[in-house]
Symmetry: C2
Subunit: 216 residues, 2 copies
Amino acid sequence: MAEIVKLYGLRASRFSNRINIALQLKGVEYKYYEEDLKNKSASLIKYNPIHKKVPTFVHNENPIAESLVILEYIDETWKTHPILPQHPYERAQARFWCRFMDDKVMAAAWKAFFVKEEQKQGLEEVNEYLEILEKELKGKYFGGDNIGMVDITGNFIVRWIPAIQELMGVEIFTEAKFPKLGKWSHDFATHPVVKEVLPSKEELIVAFKRFLNITN
Amino acid sequence: MAEIVKLYGLRASRFSNRINIALQLKGVEYKYYEEDLKNKSASLIKYNPIHKKVPTFVHNENPIAESLVILEYIDETWKTHPILPQHPYERAQARFWCRFMDDKVMAAAWKAFFVKEEQKQGLEEVNEYLEILEKELKGKYFGGDNIGMVDITGNFIVRWIPAIQELMGVEIFTEAKFPKLGKWSHDFATHPVVKEVLPSKEELIVAFKRFLNITN
């Protein structure tokens, strides 16, 4: 059977972007559909009736939602360029750090950006979490010599945090404060595959301005 | 090398309980250490320096945190009684529903229980999510004929929600409203392995009274 691989996404979504990166790293051929969140496609609603969210990934008509779940599926299905280590303990470590990225780093950063009354606490937390990551990063990437699932999950540190901090005037991540993460961020963003699918900071600022109804 | 398996947990923790269930289902021999959250053990702090939380699982001195990450590790390491399906698509579905349990059902229920000003919204949400689960449940268990990771992750519906709703006077889950989930809950709680490690509703009420400083 010919493989039919489809991704319903949004270019400004860090979650969608993860799936683009993984598919491109593995050289999987797929059809990408850019969604309009104010007017979701019938296909998105059909394939993801519970959440109706991007990214929704469809392989031979089997839909999958949730970016981390999709990444695991992609890694189990297409073996080239593994994004999770092979050994169970290292896999567990990688999964732990992926959850840390989402549940800790992103949650705290978004609180600092968007919840006025919790901004101070959010800033303290995200600073602490980035310090933990700064210590944790030992190789070129969190995945070692190659980009792995933790790096892909951390895409929002590379482009989304820099864009939103510029837009909102709330400083979270700078190379001066986190030199190792700064170098990692640069290496990730300039990786030949990643750079093709990572939106630019400027593009994200425009998208978030529109999303947040900021008119100036 | 002899296997040395340790679990630092809390009997009243739904997250810890998941690990006990998985280990018991697989017949893994392990040493269980009950933690006192007001006076955490030096071992817990050593093995889980970032979160210092239960459950912390240690296999041959390698520590792992986060209940869903631990469950995946256990399933990859001990093959008897698999708790995730073998096929990648079914695995993805199971992972999706595990996240749905935690990020949707539990989050909404805890909001209804503990965030006064969001109680109404929490109740509506958790009701909607339980209806989705009621439709999704097709076999005896979410895992089919055998208990799987989705069932284990749903342990809080079986005992924690019933205990806390009685304690707080906020009704979320009843057999009358969700007959299929009610039967599932009964089958899960009376499973010969599960019933040995699942705390009783009464025990949880006592524990949560203490935890919430409720004195009556």
